[in-house]
Amino acid sequence: MAFLEVRDLTVAYGAIQGVRGVTFAVEQGQIVSLIGSNGAGKTTTLRTLSGLLRPVSGEVWLDGTPLHRLPAHEILAHGVAHSPEGRRLFARMTVEENLRLGAYTRRDEAGVVADLDRIYDLFPVLGQRRRAKAGLFSGGEQQMLAIGRALMSRPRLLMLDEPSMGLSPIMTQKIFDTVRDLRAEGTTVLLVEQNALAALALSDRAYVIDLGRTTLSGTGAELLADPRVQAAYLGEGVTS
């Protein structure tokens, strides 16, 4: 069994069925991307994995433990951190408070302090302004903080939803470099991106989600070369 296994996940989102048969697997230490057009069900999939939504059917297993019946706060305790779409920082709290909330379930104060320093090393702009309110930062800086906040729980699986949204190409590159560094440190990353080109270039494996279903899968390179993927997701203007 793979590190993360998602089997035939179905999620009804309001009246619309957002996800109807998503199946994929993530091996430990990999970067795996879910790509697909707007509204395909990528974000709904992540929100279900982290427990914010309840699946109608289907299963989610992490390292042999079933997660699909657990509430969100317990799923975090099993090592799944979710950096949500739109960053969703606690805008009226400081950088440091946001990061400390990421470490809310941890009781090892020394380890938390060490990890704060690690995040500040990774993103010096956060370290320089750790007492400033999160809402005052630029989009790219907020994305760094959102990733840092998710890392503070020392997750075994880091889920990033649209980390490049609204960012300049330079900032996007910086975020993706960071994701690559995290993999080098052993963190498993599940990435949801509309910027399919950049995501595939980074990924060990990727899945295409279309109309709520996983339709294609392969290594990042395979999908980059696949004419169906090129036609649907890598055409001009897609990566705006």
Binding site: L52, P71, L76, L101, G102, Y104, Q142, S153
Partner: protein
């Protein structure tokens, strides 16, 4: 002239700090679940009756006469009973309606308010009329000499004001500095994301009702000792003032609740003394002030303006 003015200022500050203490419960609950808990005034009333019950039925007379024993016991009893009732209201009345349209829990809160009043009226012995509340506190009055006379302040009033302000300050520090306080603020700002941090919102919500209830219970006992009698309507009257204080100060804000409470206490006592109509109209001035402030500052003194999240 001067003694009257200063006496009314003192009365206003004492009443105002009590109103601020009760307002903390309104403002915290609203901050976390956007519910105006109209039953909160009754939680304050239940706390007063709980303290009275402990003094009347629980303690042997020998202890009940020693204020330094009786006071802490009565305060703890009032706080515990009020907190339990507040938590029970959350668990059985509000939680099932968490995802219902906002009007449903609001109406339910009014129902809880009536139910609590009637429960005390029916089950507490002789509660159909006002009950005498023992002077368990340092009795007597501090007479402060000023030009033209003296300003009398009951010691029980000084105690009420000091304890109320100290508890509010303690709450502010707790919410600002502690890990649990941070979890409360996170839940207030974005409940889903708080869950992603590993925070169980139900526990935070229960804790919020528990703290608000305990503070109101302490307030109820101190208020009983200050006025030397309690009645079933005390929760409704002071609850309305406290709710108004929370809105005036900026709902969701702890220091707003205290400042709003003090402002309302002062408006009530000074307005009742100096403005046309006397004490019969003191309510009117409170709401005039509320309306005027909200016209120019709709978010209240310390309220956050609604902001679009970046």
């Amino acid at each position: 002239m001067l003694p009257t003015l200063l006496s009314q200022v003192a009365n206003g500050l004492v009443l105002g700090s009590l109103i601020g203490l009760i307002a903390l419960g309104y403002t915290m609950v609203y901050g976390i679940i956007q519910l105006i808990n109209f039953a909160h005034g009754e939680i304050f009333m239940v706390g007063a009756y709980g303290g009275l019950a402990a003094l009347t039925y629980l303690l042997p007379a020998a202890i009940a006469n020693q204020w330094y024993l009786a006071l802490p016991i009565a305060l703890v009893a009032g706080a515990v009973i009020a907190a339990l009732v507040a938590v029970a209201a959350e668990r059985f009345a509000y939680r099932p309606l968490r995802d219902a349209p906002r009007l449903a829990p609001l109406i339910t809160a009014l129902g809880v308010s009536v139910a609590l009043q009637e429960a005390v009226r029916v089950f507490y012995p002789d509660a159909t009329a006002a009950l005498p509340f023992p002077s368990i506190f340092i009795e007597g009055t501090l007479e402060i000499p000023v030009p033209g006379g003296t300003v009398p302040i009951k010691y029980a009033g000084i105690l009420l004001a000091l304890v109320s302000l100290a508890l509010a300050a303690g709450l502010q520090v707790f919410v600002d500095r502690s890990r649990t306080g941070r979890a409360m603020r996170a839940t207030a700002q974005d409940r889903d994301i708080a869950r992603l941090m590993g925070i169980d919102p139900d526990r935070v919500i229960v804790l919020t009702f528990l703290i608000g209830g305990a503070l109101a219970g302490v307030g109820g006992v101190l208020y009983g000792g200050y006025l030397n009698n309690i009645n079933i309507d005390m929760g409704f009257q002071n609850g309305i003032f406290a709710f108004t204080a929370a809105v005036l100060g900026g709902i969701g804000s702890i220091r707003g609740a205290v400042v709003g409470g003090l402002a309302i206490g002062l408006v009530k006592s000074l307005g009742g003394q100096y403005l046309p109509g006397g004490t019969a109209y003191d309510y009117v001035w409170i709401f005039v002030v509320l309306i005027v402030v909200l016209v120019f500052r709709p978010q209240g003194f310390f309220g956050e303006t609604e902001r679009v999240r970046a």
